[in-house]
Symmetry: C2
């Protein structure tokens, strides 16, 4: 007998039938003799509908009031899930963020959890009830309703699992787990039995939205075992934990990719202590996300600086750079759009220095030019032509032996 | 400089444009130098939509969870109204029932307010903010979200006005006030400048839903002056207070009416101590509302008992009576449908014994047969043929001098 936290996202609670399905999954766990805490998101597109309501009133809605508005979405879902459970004879109680004791910093729209008061949940569990908690929301210390921002319900589930010392935190979604690459594009993609927290963070782009990076970081900090699995299919999902014991033979765990990349190169930049910080702080001020940065400095020489951005940010980026031309004193700017990023991820590669070399060899032998490279302990990213992106993913997926049938343990 | 409580019902906050209109009315009051507390209901038909959601999950939804669900309706409205105010430069803060300190008994669906903790509202008002409170909801002493049942937002407004010692409680609605009779049917109907609490209770049927009887009782207990007025038109509404100083010359203040009445008569009922209680408790158990009851007992004789019900309850009523035939030992049942109730209301009639007689004379001289009569201190009700209902209302309205132009004070 243990304690399980189960999280169901917006598509898993999208209508009455799906809410009944959630009740079925929860009851199955309860019938195994476990205590169950359920975390749910707002139904389907209901948050979009609430945002539209606010936009009808104000172009820039007050943030405190926006939280007051948006948190009604999850409150509706918890009441319906608890009703469905009660209707089937399972005592259940729904709790909003403040009733569940989820304390956040005094910020609206993107608050961090700073404390958990689990007294109420403990007491409800002790009375044999299934506890249904509203995801994405909390309360500030002075009693204002706050929200956790994107991926908030995942974070609620992981934080509750940590505070309640749950045996497991299951994230139910519309895919069956984490894949070696995106199965919508690569037919050989297969589901991973397990990945580490760090790998999961790097693989975030595979099967978009499967699990929010913030929740993964939280799970890593508190060493909470996660399982990503389907709310419809019964098959085992993907376990996310610190040390992956299964699939140890795999040096590379997955191939991630991202399109719409532009490379910008600042040519003839004089060496200076402040040059880089000027460029990237100005870009950050304009809300331009920079991904890969390549720069190597030789003493007393002009250098080139390259970085990658999203295609759509090119115009703004050039504006920012031109506004600082006098200060930076560079020669000129070049840019190339229509690129894509292809990365291999796996914690095995830290102790396996040949992996990057093998990646470059595979790409070269397939006539795929590498335009930029960036590496971390567990990832090698390359920038290639967009037209060759999927081809690159397929040959890498094959070369690193990721294809094939899933062997369930 | 005073404190005004303004309440806006569901039709007054039905869409973005109407919410902007509410903001305008609130700002006008604030600009007069008053502190303003605004109480709002759920938008238009949104409560019906939430009820449908619950019905999709469970035939008999858990009552605690129903309250969790329904209270999101007002929470949405308060956030939008506060956004609209903030957007126009007026600092505002929305408060749910629990944030506003509205404590109720531990009941779901129809809880009574048992305490008000106004610290939070006081502090917000002191900081110059407009406070927007969710109507219809509160919190139990052990922290569960509760609702006040039908007319709940009116009750919230009056309770807040009492607790905050407000100078006035304004109830904004889609009519311009309380009328001498229903202006949709009687063209001579005119708006009353003032009525007493008791008269308002009896006139509840005039301009259906204008003000919930429970809120009127609350106002009477705490002597809160109410004003019922239009959220669109700028004209003065109707003042509701203990002693009506204006319009003292009127003995009768209004003519109320109600259609779809059926009279049921139990003929040949033996005298017994328990007969009446058996009949009416059985009817209550079957959720049949009985209005007028006429019964007079003569020693050692069989008597007849008459009472009025809604047309739609006739079948159930007859079933209940037939099931108890053996116990009650009556001869037979008769019933007449297609009737209507016409009442005159006015606190002046308590000290004016000829009013009922004058009513009967007016009806008789217009060939309107009176089928049942029931009287109270401030009301005389008659049951007449439905076909003659509006004629009866018109001749009484004229005879008691209710027609004519409104004289504003």
């Amino acid at each position: 007998m243990g304690l399980i936290v189960q999280k169901f996202g917006g598509t898993s609670v999208g209508d009455a039938e799906k809410i009944q399905n959630v009740a079925t999954r929860v009851i199955e766990e309860k019938e195994k003799g476990n205590d169950v805490v359920v975390v749910v998101s707002a139904m389907g597109k209901s948050t979009d509908h609430l945002v539209d309501l606010a936009k009808g009133i104000s172009i820039r809605p007050n943030r405190r009031e926006m939280d007051m508005l948006l948190t009604t979405g999850e409150q509706i879902t918890i009441s319906l899930v608890a009703m469905a459970l009660a209707d089937r004879g399972y005592p259940a109680v729904s709790l909003t963020g403040w009733q569940a004791g989820i304390i956040t910093e005094p910020v609206h729209g993107n608050a961090r959890i700073i404390g958990m008061n689990t007294e109420r949940i403990d007491s409800e569990l002790k009375q044999g009830r299934i506890v249904v908690v509203a995801g994405f929301q909390g309360i500030t210390e002075d009693g204002a309703i706050s929200t956790l921002g994107r991926g908030g319900s995942d974070t609620t589930a992981v934080a509750l699992a940590a505070a309640l010392q749950a045996d497991k935190c299951e994230i139910y979604t519309d895919v069956t787990g984490v894949f070696t690459t995106d199965p919508r594009y690569v037919k050989d993609a297969r589901k991973l039995l397990a990945v580490s927290y760090d790998e999961m963070l790097e693989l975030a782009h595979l099967g978009a939205g499967v699990l929010h990076p913030r929740a993964v970081e939280f799970a890593k900090n508190y060493q909470i075992q996660l399982e990503v699995r389907s709310s419809i299919e019964r098959e085992a999902g993907t376990i996310i934990e610190e040390e992956v014991t299964m699939e140890q033979n795999l040096v590379v765990r997955g191939v991630a990719f991202e399109e719409d990349i532009t490379r910008v190169t600042v040519i003839g930049l004089p060496n200076s202590l402040t040059g880089l910080s000027v460029i990237f702080s100005k870009l950050a001020e304009s809300h331009i996300n920079v991904d890969i940065i390549i720069h190597s400095i030789l003493a007393d020489q002009l250098t080139n600086l390259s970085f990658s951005i999203k295609n759509e940010d090119l115009e703004d980026t050039i504006k920012v750079l031109e506004n600082s031309k006098e200060k930076l004193n560079y020669e000129r700017i070049e840019s190339e759009s229509g690129l894509a990023k292809v990365s291999i991820v796996g914690s095995g590669m830290a102790s396996n220095p040949g992996v990057a070399a093998e990646m470059f060899a595979v790409l070269a032998s397939n006539d795929i030019e590498v335009k930029m490279v960036s590496t971390s302990e567990i990832k090698v990213s390359t920038v290639v032509e967009h037209a060759k992106m999927l081809h690159a993913v397929e040959v890498l997926h094959h070369a690193f032996k990721l294809s094939g049938t899933l062997v369930t343990p």
